[in-house]
Amino acid sequence: MTRAQSDLLQGTLDVLILKALALQELHGMGISRRIAQMTNATFDVKAGSLFPALHRMEQAGWLTSSWGQAETNRRAKFYSLTETGRKQLQTKTEHWTGIAVAMAAALGIS
């Protein structure tokens, strides 16, 4: 990951995780793969940033976790959104949409 990407991650990781979990509950690696898929592999979230973020968000009450069955019959910890998490996703989505539109306009991309 380049430095630019990592800077971007600071603000985007939370919203990406929330988004990744919006449809279904996932375990850690699942979240990582889902984010890669959603962003056309632009973001490859490594364990070193993923797990601290997950635990922080869980403590904040956005996520809950439970142990369940993963592929290949392994026991893994699955995360899912709480009601608060869903609201957060909504707020952050609005926030990011605003930024994205503004940035696009500013850079003359649209």
């Binding site: 375990h27 850690g28 690696m29 490594k46 364990a47 070193g48 797990f51 601290p52 635990h55 922080r56 403590q59 009450g61 993963a70 592929e71 290949t72 392994r74 026991r75 893994a76 910890k77 608060t84």
Partner: protein, 905 residues
């Protein structure tokens, strides 16, 4: 309950569980990544290696996650503390009462435990103090004795040589000496010690060396002295060049060879040794009595100690020493000085027994043991009461906060979080209470030590007001128990609150269970208060009885001091002349109306006793009157009426010996009829053929001698100038006005009179009597304070519960009034409820008080421990205070406006 505790535990401290979960989560992640790679065609091993590399260091990831948790935890704790402080500050009345209650419970207990520990429980600061024992002989020595814990010098030698249970023995004798250094003279306490003293105790020197066995082989041979550390610091300003210098003790040059290790002040608490001298110097240190060289077996003066051999218990030592003692007694009873005693006395003597006591045994410890345990038990009751009060307060608070907690549960706070919040609040309270309590304990102990010891002794007394770690541990132990009892229970209950139910309820009415629990606590408080009040009543009345009793003569306008010119090396003739001149000198001071001298101090617990020979003394030798040698005008000075005959005069010099007796003596030892002119004698162990040679010239009214508690014992007095030697003398002065005004003048006159003879203990006899009642005053005033506080706490508790019940039942009261209940009826209804609690508490308290009263029987004077008036008085005042506390809420209930009350809900 255990399950609940475990949940709470997990919420608070589930670090390790969390770590295990995290480990598993991370390893599953790695394996899943590896699985993925295997599926895409990598070999198994390669996939795993790759996956691990991608992970980027498991330990680092783990640490990052942990940091997140720690940060969140700290942040939450900060929030909890801020929130706790805010919610405590929002309710200052509650917080103040709670902190004050805690501080009282912890402070009182810590203060008392500190004294109890240092005076009664603690062992000596020596090597293996638990293996050090004091050896005493129980029973009459049939001779002179310096205390019941003393044995004669030959007896010590026999015990030391003949025993098989001690690795070695030492003996000691504390003497008062005159110390001269530079141009200063003062009295000091010198511990005369056998050469084995320091080696057995294992006490070393801070400077120079201690007394070695070879310093103590030959009488009068080694004039050496070791200073105690505190005396070296206080009197010699910690001068390090002091070793090898000479000081003068009783006129003899002595070389300082060392300073003992710090913290060691001899082996007797309350009688700190300021210096140590080989016991072979006894003749020089106590100029007028020997006992070392004359080897009298009927003079018990040394305290003997031994260090138990490994594997020997104190009990084993005691039973092993008994045959040895019996052999020595069998030999002693055959000796010439025993011939004068009856066969019954001989049989009695042979029944004397060895007693092995802890090495830390001391007069002060024995004297204070019971009062201190009683006070400690009282503080225990205070603690129970404080706990009941706190539990009550916390329950009330938890009930009042059910709504708040319900709201917080609804907006998403976890149950664990709320329990933690309550625990933090409780801890804040407890912490504040502990800090205030320890400060209180420190101040209280300083005050008590100052009250208990005169200023000059307090400075050198080894009891320190600073609580040590054991006391702190004790305080925190109590704190923890209290905390668990009153902090956890409401917390657990509150967190179980059904949110919906609580919010629906009208104004947070607590469950019936919590109200009945609170009533129970109020009853317990009333019971404890009654116990404390009864104790206070008994002790205060004891003190008043003792003060009212008086010693049997008027004590106002009476001044006293004592001195001992013989310690300066003055001969008998010089001392006699000294006292004669002193008498004249003092008489000449304006404001002094009369002067009396006595060899024995009165009301200080001392007694000189001797068996009597007489015309009709059928009495056994064991039954001894108390004696004293006095000067002319002694009884006139004290104001003791002469009932028959006359007082001594300067002319009563001899050869005929004269005596004065009191009424009890006449009744006990003399035949009926006029005692004047009758003769009696004193049993003399040096002279078995001694005849009654003392002629009675006067009879005085009975007065107290040792202390205010005693019934006046039979007493006999002799002119001091007819005595064999002149030593220590107590001077009593009757003054025309307040005796304290004369103190400075007398001090000054005496310095001019003879600068080498220090005068000691100058004070009024009233002050001295006050001082002699210090233990009684200590117990009475502390128990009164505890009782008053207990009453206050019980009243606050009762008021709180009643006010709360009434508030909860406003609606019910409204309905009742609307239905036509009169105000009186409502008041009656509420008061009945309060009375049930009070009565339950009073009956429990009365049963407790009656059951426990016997324990303090010995501490009382002039009243029975089951004294009905004290019990009735205490119950009555408690009941009135409690009913008043209940009346205010009752009045409020009766003035409820029915329309308002019903509309409110």
């Amino acid at each position: 309950m255990i399950r609940r505790l475990r949940v709470l535990w997990n919420n608070l401290f589930r670090r390790s569980q969390l770590d295990a979960d995290l480990d598993e989560e991370l390893s599953v992640y790695t394996e899943l990544v590896a699985d993925e790679k295997v599926q895409s065609g990598m070999s198994h091993d390669e996939a795993r290696r790759d996956a691990r590399r991608e992970m980027g260091g498991v330990e680092q990831v783990r640490q990052n996650v942990r940091d997140i948790h720690a940060g969140i935890w700290l942040e939450k704790l900060g929030q909890d503390i801020r929130y706790g402080v805010r919610s405590l500050a929002k309710n200052p009345a509650f917080s103040l009462v709670a902190i004050a209650t805690l501080a009282l419970g912890i402070g009182a207990n810590t203060a008392m435990f500190s004294l109890l520990d240092q005076i009664v429980l603690r062992l000596l600061p020596v090597k293996q103090p638990e293996r050090l024992v004091k050896v005493t002989v129980l029973g009459n020595n049939y001779g002179n004795t310096y205390g019941t814990d003393r044995v004669s010098w030959p007896m010590f030698e026999d015990l030391r040589g003949g025993n098989k249970v001690f690795s070695d023995m030492f003996c000691r004798f504390l003497a008062t000496v005159t110390l001269g250094y530079g141009d200063r003279a003062t009295q000091a306490k010198a511990e005369l010690v056998s050469g084995s003293y320091f080696p057995i105790l294992g006490v070393g020197a801070a400077l120079g060396r201690t007394i070695a066995p070879e310093d103590d082989n030959i009488p009068d041979e080694r004039p050496v002295v070791v200073l105690s550390y505190s005396f070296w610091r206080n009197y010699f300003n910690a001068d390090r060049t002091i070793i090898g210098r000479t000081i003068v003790l009783n006129g003899h040059d002595m070389t300082i060879i060392g300073v003992a290790q710090s913290g060691f002040d001899g082996v007797e608490l309350g009688n700190a040794a300021q210096m140590f001298v080989p016991i072979m110097m006894k003749t020089e240190m106590t100029p007028h009595s020997d006992g070392l060289k004359d080897r009298r077996r009927r003079l018990a003066w040394v305290a003997a100690y031994g260090r138990l051999k490994p594997g020997i218990s104190a009990q084993k030592a005691q039973s092993s020493l008994q045959p040895l003692l019996h052999g020595i007694l069998e030999m002693e009873v055959q000796q010439a000085d025993f011939r004068q005693f009856s066969d019954e006395d001989r049989r009695q003597f042979l029944r004397n027994r060895i007693e092995v006591l802890p090495g830390s045994d001391s007069w002060l410890g024995n004297y204070m043991r019971r009062p201190l345990w009683i006070l400690f038990a009282l503080t225990g009751a205070v603690l129970l009461l404080a706990c009941a009060n706190l539990a009550n307060l916390m329950l009330a608070r938890a009930t009042a906060r059910e709504r708040e907690i319900a709201v917080r549960l609804v907006i998403g706070a976890g149950r664990g979080r709320i329990i933690r919040q309550l625990m933090v609040e409780t801890l804040l309270l407890a912490g504040a209470g502990a800090v205030v309590g320890l400060a209180l304990a420190f101040l209280a102990d300083r005050l008590l030590i100052r009250m208990y010891l005169p200023a000059n002794e307090a400075a050198e007394f080894v009891v320190s007001p600073i609580p040590d770690w054991r006391v702190l541990g004790f305080a925190f132990g109590m704190l923890l128990v209290t905390l668990l009892a009153f902090g956890l229970m409401p917390a657990l209950r509150a967190s179980r609150t059904e949110a919906a139910g609580s919010l629906k309820e009208r104004s947070g009415t607590g469950s019936a269970a919590s109200v009945s629990l609170r009533r129970m606590f109020v009853s317990a408080q009333v019971a404890m208060s009654l116990l404390l009040l009864v104790g206070a009543g008994l002790f205060v009345r004891t003190l008043r009885n003792l003060q009212n009793q008086g010693p049997g003569f008027p004590t106002n306008h009476l001044l006293e001091f004592n001195l001992n010119p013989s310690l300066n090396g003055y001969s008998n003739q010089q001392t006699e002349a000294f006292y004669e001149r002193l008498n004249v000198e003092l008489q000449a001071i304006p404001g002094v109306s009369s002067v009396g001298l006595s060899s024995m101090p009165i009301l200080k617990g001392y007694a000189w006793q001797n068996a009597v020979l007489g015309d009709l003394s059928g009495a056994r030798a064991e039954d001894q009157p108390v004696l004293s040698e006095v000067g002319p005008n002694y009884f006139a000075t004290l104001g003791i009426p002469i009932l028959e005959g006359r007082e001594f005069t300067e002319q009563d010099r001899g050869p005929q010996k004269y005596g004065m007796i009191n009424q009890s003596f006449a009744k006990r030892y003399l035949p009926p009829g006029d005692p004047i002119g009758r003769r009696f004698g004193l049993v003399d162990d040096q002279d078995p053929a001694h005849q009654p040679d003392i002629q009675v010239v006067g009879v005085i009214a009975d007065m107290k001698y040792r202390d205010l508690r005693e019934t006046p014992p039979p007493q006999a007095y002799f002119p001091y100038f007819q005595g064999a030697s002149f030593r220590f003398m107590n001077v009593y002065l009757r003054t025309q006005s307040d005796p304290r005004q004369l103190q400075n003048q007398i001090q000054e006159r005496m310095r001019q009179f003879d600068p080498h003879v220090p005068i000691v203990g100058l004070q009024s006899v009233d002050e001295q009597i006050d001082w002699s009642l210090r233990t009684e005053r200590l117990v009475a005033s502390l128990s009164a304070v505890f009782g008053g506080l207990a009453l206050l706490l019980a009243v606050i508790g009762l008021y709180g519960v009643m006010a709360y019940t009434v508030t909860c039942r406003t609606r019910e009261m409204g309905i009742r009034i609307a239905m036509g209940a009169t105000r009186l009826k409502i008041i009656g209804m509420v008061m009945r409820e309060a009375s049930v609690m009070v009565l339950a508490g009073l009956s429990a308290g009365a049963v407790l008080a009656l059951a426990l009263a016997n324990l303090i029987r010995n501490q009382l004077f002039g009243l029975n421990p089951h004294d009905p008036w004290t019990l009735i008085g205490a119950s009555f005042s408690l009941a009135i205070a409690a009913e008043l506390a209940g009346f205010i809420p009752a009045l409020r209930a009766s003035s409820v406006d029915p329309t308002n009350a019903l509309r409110q809900e």
